[in-house]
Symmetry: C2
Subunit: 398 residues, 2 copies
């Protein structure tokens, strides 16, 4: 059969294969970006299901409007104030997870051979989506202060005008970066917005981990400084409620919200209505604010267990950041080791991760790996890191 050109550019991603592996119960997987099952408020969900069906009858079971239920959009708009974002329900679109948010924004903005500027490394699901839309990339390195905005500015300045016009989105994950774990400083956030304003390039601020800070103080979102409505802010219920419900949202100006809604209509008519009712009840009843401290506590403990195990079992010369929140560590190994090649052996030893190159659109990352610390139990974190450490040492001594 004759497929579309875009289909040729798409390959199975490492994450997909990893999620499959994670189904083998014997493998200790640090691969998928899975929240801890302990973090799901299962008792609350039972209560909320009963409540929603009792109070709202058949409405949660019917089709809903494309942009999302008025109730949930209103509730989210209120909650956004906590992050310095002033908006109303007309600025919000509920999506089938933040991943659909990325897809809808890309669908709305990106022609084949347009350019997406993004961090190296960046979120593999974002990269996969941009590739489907046949995007080219403008890679920008990040360090422990987030995206190197100086590098972004200099690369944009050096581009000729015509090429620069093709840069349609600057994609960034400011808090507890996936995969790098770092958080962008206030200065860099402001600088990024200046650059976006100067060249009139929309920013896609992907912020699913913002509520998972377990150390330090919140930093205002880029969207909170956005006077010219250039930032599309995005977040998700996957890490604060349950990913199985597939709920995320986009905050943007009304005109763009209308455009994106029309694009969404052709994509899937509307987001799961029943789960929108559940999420609204979860927010409005205050259950979320009872749950978040529990999630943060679990994740802080797991991060510590993983960091300590790395210090104990990994050889000299391995570098690892210490994130203030989120779900990921990024480990740089001695250059000698190719983490993609190491992977097959790791799986033989029943431990999995994602190799760094999967996250890097510039061909780098072969010496790095992403480790998810939220999903495995503490005992398995200890054991899995021990196995990985042994493997790495063996490789270095070969």
């Amino acid at each position: 059969m004759r497929l579309a050109e875009r289909t040729d550019e798409v390959k199975a991603s490492a994450v997909r294969e990893l999620l499959k592996l994670a189904k083998d119960k014997k493998i200790i997987s640090f691969g998928g970006g899975l929240p801890s099952p302990e973090s799901f408020p299962i008792k609350e969900i039972e209560r909320i299901c009963r409540r929603v069906l009792k109070d709202y009858g058949t409405s949660p079971l019917q089709y809903g409007i494309t942009e999302g239920t008025e109730e949930l959009r209103t509730t989210i708009a209120k909650r956004m104030k906590k992050f310095g974002i002033k908006c109303g329900k007309e600025n919000i679109i509920i999506a089938n997870g933040a991943q659909e948010g990325i897809d809808l924004v890309t669908k709305t903005f990106v022609n084949p051979r347009d350019v997406v500027a993004l961090e190296v490394p960046s979120y593999v699901g974002g990269i996969c989506c941009f590739r489907v839309y046949q995007s080219d990339f403008l890679p920008v390195k990040l360090d422990s202060f987030g995206m190197k905005t100086d590098e972004l500015e200099s690369k944009l300045r050096k581009m000729d005008r015509k090429k620069r016009k093709k840069v349609k989105i600057i994609y960034t994950i400011p808090n507890f970066h996936n995969p790098a774990g770092v958080t962008m400083t206030l200065e860099r956030r402001k600088h990024l917005l200046e650059i976006a304003e100067k060249y009139e390039i929309p920013v896609l601020e992907d912020d699913p981990y913002v509520e998972l800070r377990f150390v330090g103080e919140d930093i205002p979102s880029i969207k909170s400084f956005d006077r010219r409505d250039l930032v599309l802010y995005m977040s998700s219920f996957s890490k604060i409620f349950a990913p199985g419900f597939r709920l995320g949202w986009i905050v943007t100006n009304e005109e763009l919200a209308d455009k994106i809604t029309i694009v969404k209509q052709g994509t899937d008519l509307c987001t799961n209505v029943f789960c929108q009712y559940l999420a609204n009840e979860y927010l409005k009843s205050g259950a979320i604010d009872r749950q978040l401290p529990k999630i943060r506590k679990i994740y802080k403990r797991k991060r510590n267990v993983m960091l300590e195990a790395i210090y104990r079992y990994f050889p000299e010369g391995c570098k690892c950041n210490k994130p203030d929140g989120g779900m990921f560590l990024w480990v740089k190994l001695p250059k000698k080791i190719d983490t993609e090649k190491l992977f097959a052996e790791a799986v033989k030893h029943k431990v999995a991760y994602i190799h760094g190159a999967a996250f890097c659109v510039d061909g780098s990352g072969h010496d790095s790996m992403r480790l998810n610390f939220s999903n495995a139990t503490e005992d398995n974190i200890e054991e899995g890191i021990k196995r990985l450490g042994k493997l790495i040492k063996k490789k270095l001594n070969n």
Copy 2:
């Protein structure tokens, strides 16, 4: 901001506006394709929610694999035998409603200016999706026996080879067509498949209403004759369970299923896992087979009420089919009346429908309207048709 070219081709659809109108409780809406709220098995859903959370714990709340849970795909594969379709779980992809199925298939096959062959009239949500992918159309009329396959064949034969290669999909709704209400005969189904085989064009068989037959005998699906794996069969839980759960599925060969799964991964990672568990329990517990006769009974009664009201209140010269199932009537009015212009007046009289032109890619349909008979109450059907009849008579006498 500089949007993608595809965004320029997209306009707000009549259906979207209609779904909004349907929120005004005072309007009797025959517009949206909404199932009857009476058809939702709300007591069963309560029971199933409890059961799923009790039996499966946190698994329904976690991310799942992109193609859908093994359990639901296995259960659907078994059920497909009822429709003469032999397949296994590896042939099935669970989508966020059949609408996402259409989107994923289009995304996989259609380049800008490729061609989709489809019936006139056809499903407005499909047309909206094809437009987003900048598709051109090959319109094929339908009559009371379904798509005029002779016309399709003759149009394909007359095309030059290069143009014909651009025809990527033949899109058809064989049972209780949306919007036309007609069912394609066995002969036409076989002829359609012959044409597809001759020119090697995949068929997208969109079959969400198949279980809503309330008169006559089932006709085998096109997919059931498909020896060369050219048919992508699609159906939905929206009309047999609840549309708010956003669940549909695609049946195709393994190779294509893999391709589509990879495309879906970048689109939304996976379909709502919780609702997949609910649907699986709904099928496996036999609740569906207790529910279906109830739904068919409600719809048959409502169809009869609407047909009788049309005979009573509409003027001479209006033509209306009598569907054997599904949710729609298609009414042709005297040429003098433009249903798009009539719409504003209808809304003033608190009654709504969708004008025929919204479903016709060839510019026809101005004298027609689609009436949904599943959603309104019987009293409202009577009252709404009375109001419409009065309006039409007034227009004719002007």
